[in-house]
């Protein structure tokens, strides 16, 4: 059984902000300073619920309404899927309308209007049609889920923040109540807490309202940091206004935020469109920035904050991107590099024996060009290529009858390469009738790495 702190008559004192912890972990007695939730009692002349009458027989979203409903209070609770909450379909804030027990009834009495515990109307954050099939009859006729289906309330809970999958606010215009789900956090034990607000929409209360925004230094490329300050001032309120002294919960304001980006192709996003601060306190408001490829170079982010209690109190600040669409990088100098491995040697040629000799070395290629080709060409003693000496090993004035053959494992590249290896295989065929002169036969070859597309 949760002990609920009752917030009566917040209606007259402006706005109330409070934190509340997951209901499923709260056991009596609660530690001081920890709230299990908030209960807001409607007051005034009977019927206290000013919602218009409606017909439960024709309107599934009718909660009985006004006199027939006999609702007397709202409750806000934090639901988390732990403990007895494990069977809930969602985490979030449960906003519900409740009835007091019938006069003379005790808790849990069979047949009584048992008030908070079992006669409660959940406000649905998604009251629309579920648009889902329930089942098909044997002949294939579809039966759709009705709006009264128990699964309708699977997504009833309210969430904090933008793009939360649910809403962060609930308005009961008839009763001048506006509920805010301002923020949420998980504590060190993994327990969920929400910061909620309740507002009387007919007045700003005796407090003075005000807001200031200041842009913080930063590179303004992926986010802008702003500081929001509550420049209003507290006012004395009657400690007996509520069943317990709630003056501390009234010393604050709730602000509605909006952010925009000026540059074409830029966008500014808020994590939360609501913020709250105590009088004199500042809170950080980050705005996240993104831009599409081809966005224009300049961009300014504008943040606006408006007090929900007094919409005439508003502030704006901007933050300009100091560099936009700038390229990041390093330049690459044109490179064509060829390194040859150890010189190849065939070993001893055997005269009079028909044999194919092979030797190899490795060429290492680094190129930043669009294409590259590796070639080999013979070089004469004078450094000029001479066709007549093309490709024959020579020993002084003597040259081998058959040409030296050069093969590359890879000789063309279609793009840049770094340290790519090409095995150069040299083949020399010596025929049985080929005459050989004592000494070393050698050839100097020039290997050229060239490109048409540097």
């Amino acid at each position: 059984m949760n002990k609920m702190r009752r917030e009566k008559a917040v209606l007259r004192a402006g706005e109330f902000v409070s934190r509340q912890r997951t209901r499923a972990v709260n056991a009596e007695p609660l530690q001081p300073g920890v709230r299990a939730g908030v209960q807001v009692f409607l007051d005034g002349s009977a019927p206290v619920d000013k919602a218009p009458a409606c017909d439960v027989n024709t309107t599934p979203t009718c909660d009985g309404g006004g006199p027939a409903g006999v609702w007397t209070n709202y409750s806000l609770e934090t639901v988390q899927r732990v403990g007895y909450g494990s069977f809930e379909p969602d985490n979030g804030v449960l906003i519900a309308k409740n009835k007091a027990w019938a006069a003379g009834a005790t808790r849990g009495t069979e047949g009584s209007q048992c008030g908070y515990n079992c006669f409660t109307w959940v406000e649905d954050a998604h009251p629309g049609d579920m648009n889902a099939v329930d089942y098909y009859k044997p002949d294939g006729t579809p039966i759709m889920r009705t709006v009264a289906d128990y699964r309708q309330l699977n997504d009833a809970l309210f969430h904090a923040g933008t793009n939360s999958g649910s809403s962060a606010e609930y308005v009961d215009a008839a009763n001048n109540l506006h509920f805010y789900v301002i923020d949420r956090y998980t504590d060190a034990r993994g327990i969920l807490h929400y910061k909620v607000g309740v507002q009387n929409t007919t007045g700003a209360g005796p407090q003075t309202r005000g807001v200031a925004l200041a842009s913080q230094p930063g590179d303004a490329l992926s986010s802008c940091a702003f500081k929001l300050t509550n420049t209003g001032a507290a006012a004395a309120t009657d400690p007996a206004l509520h069943p317990q002294d709630e003056r501390a919960s009234l010393d604050n304001d709730i602000y509605r935020l909006s952010a925009s980006a000026s540059g074409a192709g830029w966008s500014a996003e808020l994590r939360n469109a609501l913020a709250t601060a105590r009088f004199g306190e500042s809170v950080d408001v980050p705005v996240y920035i993104s831009h599409a490829a081809g966005a224009e170079p300049g961009n300014t982010v504008t943040l606006n904050a408006t007090s929900v209690s007094d919409p005439s109190k508003t502030a704006t600040a901007t933050c300009a991107s100091t560099s936009a669409g700038g390229t990041v990088g390093g330049s690459v100098p044109a490179t064509l590099s060829l390194t040859l491995g150890a010189p190849a040697t065939f070993g001893a040629f055997q005269p009079g024996v028909d044999k194919e000799y092979a030797a190899s070395t490795v060429a290492t290629v680094t190129s930043t060009a669009g294409d590259a080709t590796l070639t080999a060409s013979p070089v004469s003693a004078g450094g000029l290529t001479t066709a007549s000496l093309a490709g024959h090993l020579t020993n002084g004035a003597f040259s081998l009858p058959e040409a030296l053959r050069v093969e590359f494992s890879k000789s063309t590249w279609n793009g840049p390469e770094s340290n790519d290896a090409s095995t150069i295989t040299f083949r020399q065929h010596i025929g049985a009738k080929d005459a050989l002169r004592t000494g070393a036969y050698a050839k100097t070859l020039t290997f050229t790495l060239a490109t048409t597309n540097p």
């Binding site: 648009n131 889902a132 099939v133 329930d134 089942y135 098909y136 002949d139 294939g140 006729t141 579809p142 039966i143 759709m144």
Partner: protein
């Protein structure tokens, strides 16, 4: 040498019937032929939204598909033998009602390569996508494949057959719906 070449060519020709099916944008229907009208739906149930990314990433919306003609939605998976049987029943109807009734396949609990092979193996000529999060499956109360859904032009959910539908029953429904 020549004989081998000829054999090679023959094999290629043989593969023609098993051509690659990609369930992509080229399989989307063309314009409605002239003179085709449809009977009024018998159901008042509104077909839940159908948003699908075809295998070639073309986005498809049910509302656009059933704006002007009936749609048969086939919930299937490549690992499901009864889905192969169901496709055999659907194929002649998909052919008979080409451009008049749009058939669309919604895979679930499946991966693109397996689905693509299945499309080839079963000669699926209509658009196909995979419902990764099973959102559409759930909206249509499909708990396992196969299931066949019939949506009337305008978006009324006419019929749904979890477990699949026989060719005769579906043919009867289409016969009633399509007037030409």
């Amino acid at each position: 040498m020549r004989r081998w070449l000829l054999l090679g060519l023959l094999v290629l020709a043989g593969c023609g019937a098993d051509q690659a099916r990609d369930g992509g944008r080229d399989t989307l229907p063309g314009s409605l032929p002239a003179g085709v009208t449809f009977a009024a739906p018998t159901s008042t149930a509104v077909a839940p939204p159908l948003e699908l990314s075809l295998l070639d990433s073309t986005p498809v919306e049910g509302a656009r598909l059933w704006k002007d003609r009936p749609v048969v939605v086939f919930f299937f998976a490549s690992w499901c033998s009864r889905c192969a049987t169901q496709q055999e029943a659907l194929a002649p109807l998909a052919e008979k009602y080409r451009d008049v009734v749009t058939f669309v396949g919604v895979g679930g609990q499946d991966k693109a390569p397996a689905v693509k092979s299945w499309l080839d193996a079963h000669d699926v000529t209509y658009p196909v996508g995979i419902d990764g999060g099973l959102q559409t499956w759930r909206r249509y109360a499909v708990r396992q494949p196969p299931a066949v859904i019939l949506v009337a032009p305008g978006g009324k959910l006419e019929r749904g057959w979890p477990g699949g539908v026989s060719r005769d029953v579906l043919a009867g429904q289409l016969e009633r719906l399509v007037r030409r």
